[in-house]
Amino acid sequence: MSETEPLIATPSQTVGPFFHFGLTGNPNGRMVDRLPAGAPISLVITVTDGDQKPVADAVLELCQDGVFGRMPTGENGTSEFLTTRPASHVSVCLFARGLLRQLHTRIYFPADAGLPHDQVLALVPEHRRHTLMASADPRDASIWRFHIRMQGSDETVFFDM
């Protein structure tokens, strides 16, 4: 087999601020087609920038056990997904104005039995692992919140794949 030079991949570019009519979100925030197996939860994700201001022009894509969801953030930088408590984690892909490439992160759930054995979490310095943990709403155990801090103190861990 002859060795041929691989093709250069098409570069990424930002989604810009005006994607909403092109990248439609899930109806009612539900994950697409079917819910992954597990207890239903509401996953409320907030995105803030280096000035701790809400990022109102981001779009979040979730992938959980092969099931996909997509929602833009609202004026408060937040979007709410109706999904289920995952077996281990939710993969998140973040696009926004000002991001020339998407960012990848993961949402874990504290006290999950699998956490000590999670090989990806083990790659993350211990003092930064908390940035990947969802927190339960104190009044409603079915509501979980996750804060994506794009930059600055307590910056969320982002992954390169």
Binding site: T10, L99, Q119, L123, V124, G152
Partner: protein, 232 residues
Amino acid sequence: MKVRAIVSGTQPPLLFPPYRSTIRRAPKEPLIRIPETLSDLNAPVYGWWPVGETDNDLTRQHQGEPQGERIIVSGRVLDEDARPVAGALVEIWQANAAGRYKHVKDDHPAPLDPNFTGAGRTITDADGRYEFTTIKPGAYPWRNHENAWRPAHIHFSLFGTSFRARLVTQMYFPGDPLMAHDPMVQSVRDDRARERMVSRFELGLTRPEWALGYVFDIILRGENATPFEERT
């Protein structure tokens, strides 16, 4: 299984100060690399989009015809080994011929076109091919710096067969003088990679008495990863 490392300069950096919005949005901490063996390589299921009959013809989505220069944009979606990516969802969105988006926050004083929304979607065929009929988008100002204008472009979103192959990019038009002044285009330092974002005029795709044809092939990374020698 190994995934090809990104050749330096062929993808934009996260921090690129000439594009001002990157300054407060680019993470400062280094990204943490997930080895291939630990990555989620699930193909996302995106089935709630019904791809309708006029979804790949942006000139037929309203009562009347939109204003502007009718064009055909077609190409193939391939992996880094030039193999076709079949069944990929391709979504596009763009400004109208006057350079105005159908978006509540676009305040550029150019007219909206009641016959043009500017969004389309399609699925690649077995050969990785897709085709859209649309209107050539106009350039528009964007306040990033003094007298900043975006070159005419069409936004593209692609789902391949894994989260790693997910791509959002922009397609530009050959010979556009604004590309040399555009921080988004210039954020890609490698000449060959930058050229990947520029479509090519093709007389063979041009339909007589109807529309000019532009070819835009798209190469997804990390698709169909096969064993190979790691490059240094």
